[in-house]
């Protein structure tokens, strides 16, 4: 996907009225659901504090935690791999699949594997990756990309999905308008895959250093199928998903489902440790992925973006996201969290418009279950964009310098006021076409205060003479 930057991509997205309706309805529904489920937890704020500290602690001690995780997984019969970047990770996963002669692999929804373009890399070596999450399947069949972390096909409504399925996995059938029947078509289509494909690939929500336990939360059961039935399981886990101890789950498993789907608990949570004779895969590979995460970790303020547990509450609460939808962010990580994560993962120079894709209203910070201060990081990144990547001779830099000189001298300031009165509209429109397209200018008064002061008739000041 070619990157046009947020403003252009957002303008295009806003023109898609169907998408706007779908995303608007979805975000408002899920906002309300989340609010109700959070309200019934009296210690929610204490859980958020604990969640923030749990993640901060894991980041601060990450080298130790990753080594502990590696040792625990290895002890339990798993094999741990390390990947510096997307290419290395894809090569590792592709190598394992090839080693088992797999022509197909089944996949649990995973943002990390979307981030590294794993499906395309596997296709290039002749391995078909089959998405098993309903929304991911919809996007895969439609050759579309995700628009939401939690519900990636939320930009489509049931009519669109019904037609898509009737042209692909349920060819020749009339599925009707009931979503249950549409879901049933996916069930029939994938059941045989679950029973026969020998290799599965998943992401990870949490990886516990203490025990070597990996956690995947889901709703449909496709995750359980992939994690349980195939002979070989490969999990791609970003290094920031590591948790220090088992006990950390008592906080995270409360924060995530309520923030994410607005449920007390998601239908299925799978926790497994290495391999278990007679139960589940015979071979387990854990690939620990960097791919820019250590760059994020290097920014003391920006590193909190790595605390994200991918609940998507910030997307649903964001007035910008709920109008543009996810595609405008041109990343697998959309919304407010994407606006701070993507530029740091890819490098600011590759996504310089994203830190500006926000009104800084702060709703994202309020709902974040691990208290990521997204507005502060946005401001911090805006500063970095200006300092590190915007040229000193850019129109904006020149304008600021000029304004500085004008404001620095009374004479120049007053001349500028006169000029502004004369040519306000046309001059500004010509000089700053992009800026003035979205903003109104204040009326310039006919007379400034200084001019009025100088022009008023001289009068004796009362009280100078005799008193009343």
């Amino acid at each position: 996907m070619s990157k046009t930057g947020f403003p252009a991509a957002a303008r295009q997205a806003l023109g898609d009225t169907q998408m706007r309706r779908n995303v608007g309805k979805a975000t408002s529904t899920i906002r309300a659901r989340r609010a109700a489920r959070v309200a019934e937890v009296p210690d929610w704020e204490a859980l958020r504090d604990a969640g923030a500290a749990i993640k901060a602690r894991a980041m601060a001690t990450m080298p130790e935690q990753l080594e502990r995780l590696e040792a625990s997984v290895t002890r339990a019969g798993g094999k741990v791999h390390w990947a510096r970047d997307a290419a290395e990770c894809n090569a590792i996963v592709g190598g394992i699949a090839a080693g088992h002669g797999a022509r197909q692999v089944i996949k649990v929804k995973s943002l990390a594997t979307d981030e590294i373009g794993l499906n395309d890399a596997l296709a290039a070596q002749g391995v078909e990756a089959i998405e098993t999450d309903l929304a991911e399947l919809i996007n895969q069949l439609a050759h579309d990309t995700s628009s939401h972390i939690l519900v990636p096909a939320i930009h489509r409504n049931r009519a669109e999905v019904k037609l898509l399925f009737e042209h692909t996995i349920a060819r020749g059938q009339d599925l009707g308008w009931d979503i249950t029947a549409i879901a049933e078509a996916a069930r029939r289509h994938l059941r045989e895959k679950f029973l026969s494909v020998p290799v599965a690939i998943s992401g990870a929500n949490f990886g516990i250093a203490e025990t070597g336990t990996i956690c995947v939360v889901e709703s449909e059961g496709n995750g359980r199928m992939c994690l349980t039935l195939p002979r070989v399981l490969i999990t791609v886990m970003g290094i920031e998903k590591v948790l220090v101890e088992w006990r950390d789950l008592e906080v995270c498993l409360q924060l995530l489902p309520r923030s994410s789907t607005g449920e007390r608990m998601n239908p299925y949570t799978s926790l497994w440790t290495g391999v278990r004779a007679g139960d589940g895969p015979e071979e387990f590979h854990l690939v620990l992925l960097d791919n820019g995460r250590t760059d994020v970790l290097g920014d003391e303020l920006g590193r909190q973006a790595l605390h994200c547990i991918r609940c998507s509450a910030c997307l649903n609460s964001c007035p910008v996201y709920s109008r543009t939808g996810g595609h405008a962010y041109e990343s697998v990580y959309p919304g407010p969290i994407g606006a701070i994560l993507t530029p740091q993962l890819r490098g600011l120079e590759n996504a310089p418009t994203l830190p500006y894709a926000s009104s800084l209203c702060g709703a994202c910070y309020e709902v974040c279950p691990v208290k990521i201060d997204i507005p502060s990081v946005l401001l911090h990144l805006r500063g970095r964009v200006v300092r590190e990547y915007k040229s000193r001779v850019s129109p904006e830099a020149l304008a600021m310098e000029t304004v500085g000189r004008v404001f620095g001298s009374q004479r120049r300031y007053e001349q500028a006021q006169k000029l502004a009165r004369l040519g306000r509209g046309p001059i500004v429109a010509a000089a700053l076409p992009g800026w003035s397209a979205m903003r109104g200018l204040p009326e310039v008064p006919e007379q400034s205060f200084r001019e009025w002061w100088r022009s008023r008739p001289a009068r004796p000041v009362r009280g100078d003479g005799a008193g009343p």
């Binding site: 980041m59 679950f194 029973l195 489902p257 007390r264 139960d279 250590t294």
Partner: protein, 213 residues
């Protein structure tokens, strides 16, 4: 890929700098034990209410009524052949063929059965969650996953009040390396229009039997 390992760890160390500060985790939330030991009336009521919220069916029965309730449920769901874990109690359900997972049933054999009858390791009242731990009456993971209908027997003593209670009780299971599955209602999706529909790939029907006494 040992060079990948050293490279990633070196980058992490460099990124963190010399003295990264690791905060203490403040635990002002309701920790394990905050609601007592569980199994009491209020906890059981809450569990039943919360399970039912997920559109699972909950039946509260006395010990001697369990087998009768299982017969009725299987009749209603037209389940004639159902799997039971190798380590399950010697349940019998009149009119139903119980297929013990010993020797292990293949995934295809499981796919041909009408359901599965299991117990659980514990249950969490606050979230209406059933916890399976891969042993005993929980059975191995495929057993409670592949068949379309799951009947689960929960005993009063299995029910703990909160998520921290459940996580604390499972620490030993995790340390032993046994797989754990948390089940909160039947398989569901909200992927289309955020409308929750029960049933995609996991069991589409979940009947829970809470056994008292």
């Amino acid at each position: 890929m040992s060079d990948g390992r050293e490279a990633v760890l070196a980058r992490v160390r460099a990124a963190l700098g010399s003295s990264p500060e690791a905060p203490e985790v403040p635990r002002a939330y309701r920790e394990a034990g905050a609601f007592g030991a569980g199994g009491d009336c209020a906890t059981v009521d809450l569990f039943c209410e919360r399970v039912a919220d997920y559109r699972a069916t909950v039946r509260r029965v006395r010990g001697e009524e369990l087998l009768g309730a299982l017969v009725t449920a299987c009749e209603q769901r037209q389940a004639r052949r159902i799997a039971v874990p190798a380590g399950a109690p010697p349940w019998t359900v009149e009119g139903v063929d119980l297929v013990r997972d010993d020797p292990q049933l293949s995934a295809r054999q499981l796919d041909e059965l009408d359901g599965v009858l299991s117990g659980c390791a514990l249950a969490i009242a606050e979230t209406g969650t059933i916890v399976l731990d891969g042993a005993g009456a929980s059975g191995r993971r495929a057993l409670t996953l592949v068949p379309d209908y799951h009947l689960c027997v929960v005993r009063l003593n299995d029910i703990v009040p909160s998520v921290p209670d459940g996580v604390a009780a499972l620490a030993r299971v995790a340390a032993e390396g046994r797989p754990i599955t948390l089940v909160s209602g039947p398989s569901a999706t909200v992927d289309i229009e955020l409308v929750r529909v029960e049933g995609v790939h996991g069991p589409r029907t979940l009947d829970v039997f809470v056994v008292e006494g």
